[in-house]
Amino acid sequence: MQCSRCGAANNTGALACVACGQPLILSHVGSIMPAAVGHVVEAAPASVPPPSAEASVYQPTLGPIDRESFFAAQRRNRRATWRLAAMSAVAAVLTGIPLSLVLTPLLFAVVLVVTRLLGLVVAVPDGVWSAYQWVGLALKRIFDAASDSTVRQLPIGSLVLAASIWLLPGIAAMLAMWVALRALFARAGVGGMLLSLGAREPRPDDFEERQLVNVVEEMAIAAGIPAPRVMLIDAPISNAAMLGSSTKDAAVIVSRPMLDHLDRDETQGLLAHLVASIANGDLDGARSMLAVFQTFGFAAAVIRMPISGPARATVGRMLRYLFGHKREAERLDEARALSEMLADTAENFDEKNDLESLTEEVTPPVQRAGPKLELLKAFPFVALGYFIYTLVAGWPDAARNLGFLILFGAAGALILYQRVYAFWLARRVIAMTHAIIILPYYLAAMMPQILLLFLNMLVLQPAFGLLWRTRRYLADATAVQLTRNPEGLARGLAAQAEHGCGVAGSGWALPMFVSGAANMGSVSPEAVAMRQQLMQELAAEMANPPAPGMSEAEHRAQAVADIRRRAMEQMPEAAIENPPASKSSGFGGIVSMHPSVNRRLRRLRRMGAAVDDVDPRVKRGHQSRKGPASFVVMPVVFVLVAVLAVLMLALLAVLIAVSVLFASVLMMMVYGLFAVLIPR
C-alpha cells in the first residue's frame, strides 16, 4: 500500500505510514470492500508530492539465476525430512532407556520366580540358570576381573552384551506403547482441544467468513484433497491452525480478526500453507510426534505410580478410557483431554508425590479432637482405683466384671466419638508403613525420571523442532505450488509477524499454527471481552444513518476501519502481557517449532516473492535498535552452537553410561535377593 502523502511503500494492513505517519485507514479495508473503497482512494487530494528517493520499493532480482522452482524446493525439503525422521526414531528409541531401569529388574525378578516355579514341575536345564547368572552378575564379573591380576583383558564385550539385554525390554516396551497410543488416540488427532476454545461454524451471511470458506475449498481443490472443515474463533489474536488426524477429517481453525488484517491473496497464501501441510500428511506426522511425548508421559506415570497420587490418577483414567463404556461423542472428548494430559505428564515432574504428602499427613489434621482424648489417659488409673475399691469393699466377681464392662464401654464410646482422631492415628501408621516400603523404590525411580527429563529437553524437543521446521518449509513450497503466488503467502507471513500471536491454552497444538510469530503470546479473557465490546460498538455505529453523500458500503468501511484502529491500539498489550492459561508449554523446547519469519521469507523470495524481511525488533511500535554487524556475530553464534551440541552429546553419553551402571546394580540386587530368598 502506497502512502498517499509521501509515496512510501507500507505493509498491507499497516495503520500508519512508516515514513511520515500519515494514517492509512482505508488501505486494508480493500480486503472487505474492494469495489466500494476503490474510488475513495482515487479521490485522495491532488496535491500529492512525488515519491521521495529513499522510500524506494524493494526490487527483487527475478530470473533463472536465483530462482528456485517449488518442485525443487519440495524435493529438497522431503530429503531433509527423511534425514530428520531417522534422527527422531533414534531419539524415540533412546527414551526407552530410562524405562528399562525400572522395567528390566522387575521383569528379571518375574522371570526368575517363574523359572523357579517351573523347576518344581519340569527339569530346567542348567544352561538357563547360568545364563540368568551371567545376565544378573555382569558387573560383578567386571569388578572381579579388574581386581584379579592374572586376567589380562577386561570382559568389556560381555558387559556391552549384558547392557543391551538390560536396555532392550524398555526400548521394546516403549516402541509397543508408542504404536498402541498412536492407534488409541488416532481419532482424537492433534489440536482437537482448540475446538474447546469456543470454535464456531462460519456464518454464511458474513462476507469475509464466506470468502474464507471459498478460499479453503479452492485450496483443497488445488491440492486434490477433501475440503477441510472451517471453524472460527472470536479471540482477539491473528492466527490460523490445522487440526485433525488425517486428510479425511481435517479442519482448519481461523481466528476472526485475522480475516480483517489480511486481503484475499494473503489469506489464500496462509490457508494454502495449512491445506498443503494437511495434504503432505503432516497431521499424521504430528500425531506420531505427539505420541512419542505421550508414550513418554505414560512411561513416567507408570514409573511413578507406586509413589505418586496424580500418576495413579492418570493411569486410572487411561484404564477407564480403555475399558469404560461411554457414548461415542464423550469418548472423543475424553480422548482429546487424555491425549493432552498424557503429553503434559511428560514434562511436569514437579507434581506432589507420596513422600512429600506424608510430611503433611503426620501433623494432626484436627487439633480440637486432641484434648478430649486426654481423658483416655486417666483410664488405667480409674480402672486400677475401681479394682482396689471393689476388692476392699468385697464385691462379688460378677458385679465387679459388670463394672469393668461399663468402664471399657465408656472408653470405647469415647474413642468412637473421637473417630476422626482415631482414624488419623490409623492413617499415620499406614502412611509410615507405606513410606518405609516405597522409599527404596522412590530412590530407584529418581534416576529414570531425571533421565526422561534430560532426554525430553535435550534430544526429543530439538529433534522434533528441526523436523517440524523442515515440514514448514515444505508446506510453504507446496503452498506456492497450489496458489502459484509466492507473493500472497510472503505478504501474509509478514503481516502475521506484525499482528500474529498464539491462542490461550494452545499447549500441544502450538505446532499446528501457520506461523509461530515472534510475539507468540496468549490471550486473556479481558481481551476477548474487549473484542466483544468493540464489535457491539461497530453494530451500534452501523445502526446510525450514513453521513450525506456516503453510500452504505463506504459507511461500513469507515466504521470497520475506525473500530479496527481502536482495537489495534488497545488490544495487543492486553493480549500479550497476560500469563499463558495452560501450564504446559507444549512443544516449546529449546528449539522453536516454527522457522523464523525472515527465513521463510528468504525461501519464498527464491521462489519469486517480492516481500522484504520484517524487522524482528520492530514490534508493536517499539523503535528498532541497530544490532552488531551480523558478520561478527554469526561465527561466534555458530561456534557457541557447535560447543553446545558437543556438550549435549557428551551429557547424553554420560547419562546412558550412568543408567547402564544403575541398571547393573539393580540387576545384581535382584539376582542376589533371589539367590538368598528362593535358592535353587
Partner: protein, 187 residues
C-alpha cells in the same frame, strides 16, 4: 546352490520392484482421472450459480438485456453440449466471457455495486472461476507426475505395453478467447 539362491533373490526383487512400479503408475493414473472429473464438478457449480446472478442484477439493469441474454444463452449452450468436449470447451469459454462482461457493465451501476447480495455473488463467481483454474492446475500437475513416472526408467520399458498411455495436458487453444487479455481502461 548358492548361485541358485542368488538368482532366486534377484528374481524376487525384480518382481517386487515391478509390482511396486505398476501400482504406483495405477495410483497416479487414477489421480489424474479423478482430477479430470473435478474440473467438470466445478464447471457444473458455475452453471448452478448463474441463474442467481441474473436474478440479482436484472432488477437494476433492465436496459442491458443483451448482456443478460448472452449469459443465459451461453449457460444453456454449455449445458446442452453435455460430454462433447470440443463443443463444451467452446461454450464454457463463451460463458466465461459473458460473465466477465456482465461484471464490467455492472461497474456502471453504483447501487448494484454496493449491494451486499451482489458482492457475495461476485465473490462466489470469482471463487468458482478460481476453482476451475485450480482444478485444471491440479489436473496438469497430476498429468505431469504421471507422465514423469511413466517415462522414467525402468517403467518406460513396459508402461506402453501395459496400457499406460501418456496423459494429455489441459492447454488452451491459441485462438481461444480466454487467452485474450481483457482490456482495462482507467478513466
Amino acid at each position: 546352490m548358492t548361485v541358485e539362491l542368488i538368482i532366486g533373490a534377484i528374481v524376487v526383487l525384480v518382481i517386487l520392484f515391478a509390482v511396486l512400479t505398476y501400482n504406483g503408475l495405477v495410483g497416479k493414473r487414477n489421480q489424474m482421472r479423478n482430477a479430470w472429473g473435478q474440473i467438470d464438478v466445478q464447471l457444473n457449480r458455475r452453471h448452478d450459480l448463474i441463474p442467481n446472478l441474473v436474478n440479482a442484477v436484472q432488477g437494476y439493469m433492465n436496459h442491458e438485456r443483451d448482456v443478460l441474454d448472452r449469459v443465459t444463452t451461453a449457460r444453456a449452450q454449455a449445458i446442452a453440449a453435455g460430454s462433447n468436449v470440443a463443443q463444451r470447451a467452446d461454450a464454457e469459454n463463451q460463458l466465461t466471457q459473458a460473465v466477465r462482461s456482465l461484471f464490467a457493465v455492472a461497474e456502471a451501476y453504483p447501487q448494484l455495486r454496493a449491494s451486499e447480495n451482489m458482492l457475495s455473488l461476485q465473490e462466489e463467481l470469482s471463487s468458482t472461476e478460481n476453482r476451475i483454474a485450480f482444478a485444471r492446475q491440479f489436473y496438469n500437475d497430476s498429468v505431469m507426475q504421471y507422465n514423469t513416472a511413466r517415462e522414467s526408467f525402468p517403467a518406460v520399458i513396459f508402461a506402453g505395453a501395459m496400457g499406460f498411455h501418456a496423459g494429455d495436458l489441459f492447454t488452451l487453444d491459441e485462438a481461444a478467447p480466454e487467452r485474450a487479455v481483457p482490456a482495462v481502461q482507467f478513466g
